[in-house]
Subunit: 242 residues, 2 copies
């Protein structure tokens, strides 16, 4: 009945319903207007995510197509070949091609769906090191699993693909680094988001959704103050027989 | 594809995806296992909510029926006839009958759906007064819109209906009052929930869902650590052709 907004991505999407999470905030903001569908897959890169496309966005579907889809990958693609995340690494050119395939597939399903590309956030090496030590102590790898520079090249190409395909995008990598102390303010372990980091994603995404008319969508049923308490059936008949 | 958990209720449900909200926490806890569907209608009582039943839970539906539904009304039904919320008031006997109708309707749609009844939270008169003053200043009504005692009778009957129908229930009214200082710890305006109040609903609901097997539900796709990086197609073929 309500339009769907699908959040498709890696752990930063999967965790977006934690306290202060950007996904839950989107659901709250558009409550009674859209349904937010969480499709976050922790640890996934774009290569693995391609296998999900046909299942999450079937070409032939009984239901309505999503009104919007966020595609938020790259943090794992950008894992270094020399680090502990090497199995997640996807070369930059393949990352770009995978993003193109995702967008094309969603367009094949539903040409009207608003697709938003989100870049990975920046990487804070100190935060990554501290996290590894807190998890593995002296056994923590001394080699970085990601660097800010390499992740930046993925972010840059994500924005370029959005431009090439005529889509809105959120350059989280750049946006976050505009704030002094972004390393601790926005990142909890040098990669994942604090509540303030979640607020950045939320703020940027809501701008795009509102510009596309999402805040103007109708409520699914009357506001309680509009219900005729003497004859409530009348208030609902108008809406529900539509 | 995934089982649905529908949260049906008034503002305390509608607001459950705010930061620290109980609904978002349920979505986070069972992420990649269930989809949480938010159907909260601020200001609604059970009388008005009955008009939504056929739309939210159609008797004939293409899609899968919900795995679980929470029914969380009563805070508005219990508004006093003498107060500012009088138009929301529903007599106790009608509230009981309306709860029965809701449960019966959901059972008619899908006999296997787990239905959980949740009572309204307790009422803190001082919190309500302060809230009214903060909103309306000197024009705030001096008459209470709700009392803890009256709301308690609705909570008691909600639990009785759950027992009569063989359903699990959460007696939020009683549970919260077991904690000293519940008035400020759990309630933000004498009625709605603080993050700690949300945590009470979440904790009680997860106990019920886990007992019904929800934590044992399978993930929708392989965990990233289980993906064969040399041959990822194999990891997905096993799951996706099922």
């Amino acid at each position: 009945m309500r339009p769907h907004v699908v959040l498709f991505g890696d752990s930063i999407t999967q965790q977006s319903f934690r306290s202060g999470g950007w996904g839950a905030s989107v659901a709250d903001t558009y409550s009674r207007k859209v349904d937010v569908v969480l499709r976050g897959y922790g640890g996934y890169n774009t290569r693995w995510a391609l296998f999900l496309l046909n299942h999450l966005f079937p070409l032939v579907s009984e239901g309505p197509s999503p009104a919007a889809v966020t595609i938020f990958f790259g943090a794992n693609d950008a894992a270094l070949l020399e680090g502990t995340g090497k199995r997640q690494h996807v070369p930059l050119e393949e990352y770009k091609e995978n993003l193109r395939k995702m967008v094309q597939h969603i367009r094949d399903c539903s040409p009207k769906t608003l697709v938003v590309l989100i870049t990975p956030p920046p990487i804070d090496l100190d935060g990554r090191r501290e996290y590894a030590r807190s998890m593995y102590g002296d056994k923590a790898s001394k080699v970085a699993d990601r660097t800010n520079e390499v992740t930046g090249t993925y972010a840059e190409q994500c924005v370029a693909i959005a431009k090439e395909l005529g889509l809105p995008s959120i350059n989280l990598w750049s946006k976050m680094q505009e704030t002094n102390g972004w390393q601790r303010t926005f990142l909890s372990d040098g990669l994942h988001l604090t509540p303030k980091g979640n607020a950045v994603v939320f703020g940027e995404l809501v701008k795009i959704l509102d510009e596309a008319g999402f805040s103007d969508l109708p409520y699914d049923f009357p506001q309680h103050s509009e219900i005729d308490e003497e004859n409530p059936a009348r208030s609902f008949t108008q809406v529900c027989t539509a």
